[in-house]
């Protein structure tokens, strides 16, 4: 790897971190202060264009766009944390188990994995919505479950790789238990891979939430959500494209941020993969 | 007239100079060894001659093949020389062939590409002949197999068949036997010797015994420069440069220094 290539790679991580930081900052700030109440309906200020008081203007109910975006950032982060959390908590141990346990168990876990993979995230979320009622939480648990196979796969292949290294073979020869090996050697070594996967899955979850809210299967009113802002903007698109562009850019920033962060981390962790994906 | 003339060749990556002021010639039918440890600039020199330096490397100086200047030659013209007037066998036979293409097609391609065979069919037939010439058992069947179905030695024979297909005036072999078993090594060396009577051969290796078997002349490269050159017999019996002496001493596995340790080349 030449130094020139090293220098060029750094922006990916930096830009990703800045964009993600921006979303986090908006969400944290929204707890302390928003320009207006994001849920206050006021016919007197309907569909205002950008002004000093309303930086991005107001929507058809007179709600402030900036405030909605800020509080919506919370929803976006919540969504990602729940989905990635569910996927990581279920998928990681399953993957490690599949790699370290008996052969038939590994085979079985991977087959079930493939089966779950046949249920796309959106389909699972709609099914869950149909059964348990549409809400952010059900949608995100569904997306989390749909993401389990990705984590299980990565944890499994990472574990298999670690298990074949000499220091693990030495530890096994020294009579260390499987559990001890998993704890001491496997987890720390697959953690990097899982962090990268988390970042990428986070981006996918944000997109999925936006799509589900757009379809009416995600975040319920009045909780502000970027996806629902987009959906509500649709009827007024011809006259007020601003209403779609503002949340659209917010979603793009979050997704771009998490994708770049994942790419940057991947390159950092494994320089051999630099430039891939 | 010499086939290959390299004069004052420099190759650099940014500020770092990998090859410095290298000059040598190889005549028709002459076999020249290029020895030195890894990182001494042997392979970079070979890539420069083929015009296949990676993008971040730049060459200056002069390399002429049959009087044609290689340095700075446009890619299109270079590609007409490669595989026809000059060809190369690489170190790693396991990865040098396309895994998704039958080896016969890979041999035939170099002939149809340079139109040294009138049509596809004759190129195919010629490919089977070549595979026989490099002594692959059952060349008809071998032509239809994929690389993963062949052993390392067999794959290197296929590479040699590709390299020899158009009777190049210059053949470059970059450590062609390093990755192979000892017994297979000898067979491949025999093949190279038997098939390069008219060609100029540049043979890169760090194995002095191989140089002694194959080559008439030898160039010793150290730290990007050619530090010694001459007939193999002369250089090996009366090395002038300190590095060559160390190289010779360390190649003899029997030799140990006064502390009983194996001699290795020291760096300064």
């Amino acid at each position: 790897m030449t130094t020139a290539a090293m220098k060029r790679r750094t922006p990916t991580l930096t830009v990703g971190a800045i964009l993600v930081g921006l979303v986090v900052l908006l969400a944290v700030m929204s707890f302390l202060w928003t320009p207006h109440d994001p849920t206050r309906v006021d016919a007197a200020v309907r569909l205002l264009g950008p002004t000093g008081d309303y930086l991005f203007g107001t929507d058809k109910f007179g709600r402030d766009l900036v405030s909605q975006i800020m509080v919506g950032a919370r929803t976006t982060l919540y969504v990602g944390v729940v989905a990635v959390g569910v996927a990581a908590v279920i998928g990681t141990p399953l993957g490690i188990l599949a790699a370290m346990g008996p052969r038939w168990l590994g085979e079985f876990v991977m087959r079930v994995n493939d089966l779950v993979l046949a249920f796309p995230a959106l389909l699972l979320a709609i099914m869950f919505g149909a059964v348990f009622g549409a809400s952010t939480l059900t949608a995100m648990i569904a997306i989390g479950i749909a993401t389990v196979p990705s984590f299980a796969r990565i944890a499994r292949s990472g574990t298999l790789q670690v298990m074949s290294t000499e220091y693990v073979l030495a530890a096994r020869a020294a009579g260390r238990s499987r559990f001890a090996i998993a704890h001491r050697h496997v987890l720390p070594n697959v953690a990097g891979l899982l962090i990268v996967q988390s970042s990428v899955s986070f981006a996918i979850a944000v997109l999925a939430e936006a799509a589900l809210s757009f379809l009416g299967f995600g975040t319920r009113p009045p909780t502000p959500s970027w996806g629902r802002m987009l959906q509500e903007s649709q009827e007024l698109l011809a006259v007020q494209p601003r209403l779609a562009i503002v949340p659209g850019i917010a979603i793009a920033i979050a997704v771009l941020g998490f994708n770049l962060l994942g790419d940057g981390l991947r390159d950092r962790l494994d320089p051999r993969l630099a430039g891939r994906r | 007239m010499s086939v290959l003339t390299v004069h004052g060749l420099n190759v650099s990556a940014g500020d770092a100079e990998l090859v410095r002021d290298v000059s040598f010639t190889i005549g028709k039918g002459e076999r020249v060894g290029l020895i030195g440890e890894s990182g001494s600039g042997k392979s970079v020199t070979a890539s420069a001659v083929m015009g296949l330096l990676s993008e971040e490397l730049t060459a200056s100086g002069s390399i002429t093949l049959n009087g044609k200047q290689i340095v700075g030659m446009p890619e299109r013209q270079l590609s007409r020389l490669r595989g026809r007037d000059m060809s190369m066998v690489f170190q790693e036979p396991m990865t040098a062939l396309n895994p998704a293409m039958q080896v016969g097609k890979q041999v035939a391609e170099v002939m149809s590409l340079h139109r040294t065979q009138p049509d596809r069919r004759s190129a195919r037939a010629a490919a089977v002949d070549l595979l026989g010439r490099v002594r692959l058992p059952d060349p008809q069947r071998a032509a239809k197999s994929y690389p993963h179905q062949l052993s390392g030695g067999q794959r290197q024979r296929v590479m040699l068949a590709i390299a020899l297909a158009n009777n190049p005036s210059l053949l470059i072999c970059d450590e062609p036997t390093t990755a192979l078993d000892v017994t297979v090594q000898a067979q491949i060396l025999d093949l190279i010797l038997a098939n390069t009577n008219d060609s100029a051969l540049l043979f890169i290796t760090h194995d002095l015994a191989v140089v002694a078997t194959v080559c008439e002349r030898v160039l010793v490269m150290y730290n990007g420069r050619i530090v010694e050159s001459g007939l193999v017999r002369d250089v090996f019996t009366a090395p002038e440069h300190r590095y060559t002496r160390q190289l010779l001493a360390s190649s003899d596995l029997e030799a140990t220094d006064e502390n009983g340790r194996l001699r290795t080349v020291s760096h300064d």
């Binding site: 959106l122 936006a210 | 890619e75 993963h148």
Partner: protein, 314 residues
């Protein structure tokens, strides 16, 4: 090789069976009695009992499952609890719409991604390559429905070139059909194309580093020639994997674009059925989608062995 195909076929069939049971059970644990839902809260107990008998939901689960899956095998998905219409024919119609949409989108995606991704890989050190990677990163971050909304805004509202939505069957008026297909297929295809571009780029980059590409150059092939003749086939394996995954997610993922453009696709049918709590219809659609996903995976597996001779052993 034949053994390998037989093994994969067996895995596929078992997976379909397992998936059908999973879908059936998932719907069966649903709170609420379909008969009650269909009739509303004012229905008399006798009427509910009669409706249950009509739906067959008063029988044991195993009987219901075998009855259902047996029907599905002959194309009979049962009658909707809500409209009492046959589900199968409507499902086929809707699937047709979605397949046109997804098929056109995939073609657009591949046509964009293969040349752009390869170009970005070959030029990865140059400005043009970096610009393409950056643009594809941006494209990935745009939700498909937002792309759809923007396309409608520009081509339908501002320029009035193309319809903003609606569906004309191809056998009715092919020209109108194509005009209606352009924008939704673009919305879906551009975004998928951005995703695919990144995978093509990374696959080609990997291939460019392979020794056999250097061999190809040493034979006298120009860089582009070497990539096309020796590189693309080898880069195809990871790209086909992603294509397969995209295809399976798009069959349902297209639903958002179907909503934007008011297309009568499978996704819209699913949403309507969910809204009406028409469970048997939901069950049928989900099964079709899952079988489609499994089928695509199966075909991708088979395609690998065609592309890569090393996988033909087993």
């Amino acid at each position: 090789m034949i053994l390998g195909i037989a093994r994969r076929t067996a895995i596929f069939l078992v997976s379909v069976l397992a998936a059908s049971i999973a879908v059936f059970l998932f719907m069966a644990v649903l709170p609420g009695d379909p008969a009650q839902v269909a009739l509303g809260i004012n229905a008399t107990p006798e009427l509910i009992a009669r409706t249950r008998a009509e739906f067959g939901t008063d029988r044991p689960l195993t009987t219901q499952y075998f009855d259902w899956i047996g029907g599905v095998l002959t194309g009979d998905f049962g009658r909707s609890y809500v409209t009492r219409d046959l589900i199968g024919p409507q499902l086929a119609d809707r699937l047709g719409v979605t397949l046109w949409l997804v098929g056109a989108a995939m073609v657009i995606a591949v046509v964009i991604a293969v040349p752009l991704g390869s170009f970005a890989a070959v030029r990865h050190r140059k400005v043009s390559g970096t610009v393409i990677s950056g643009a594809s990163q941006l494209g990935v971050a745009v939700p498909a429905f937002l792309a759809g909304i923007l396309l409608v805004q520009v081509f339908a509202v501002q320029w009035r070139l193309l319809p903003s939505g609606g569906w004309t069957p191809p056998n009715q008026d092919f020209g109108e059909f194509l005009r209606g297909l352009v924008l939704p297929a673009l919305a879906l295809g551009l975004v998928q194309g951005a995703v695919l571009t990144r995978y093509v780029r990374s696959a080609v980059l990997d291939t460019l580093r392979e020794d056999y590409l250097r061999t190809a150059r040493a034979k006298g092939l120009m860089p582009g020639q070497a990539l096309v003749r020796h590189g693309l086939r080898n880069a195809a394996v990871p790209v086909v994997t992603v294509l397969g995954l995209q295809l399976t997610t798009l069959l349902i993922g297209a639903v958002v674009v179907e909503r934007v453009f008011v297309l009568p696709g499978l996704g819209s049918m699913l949403l309507d059925a969910v809204a009406a709590r028409d469970l048997l219809t939901v069950q049928g659609i989900v099964l079709v989608l899952v079988i489609a996903a499994l089928l695509v995976n199966f075909l991708v597996d088979l395609l690998y062995t065609v592309i890569d001779p090393r996988l033909r052993r087993s």
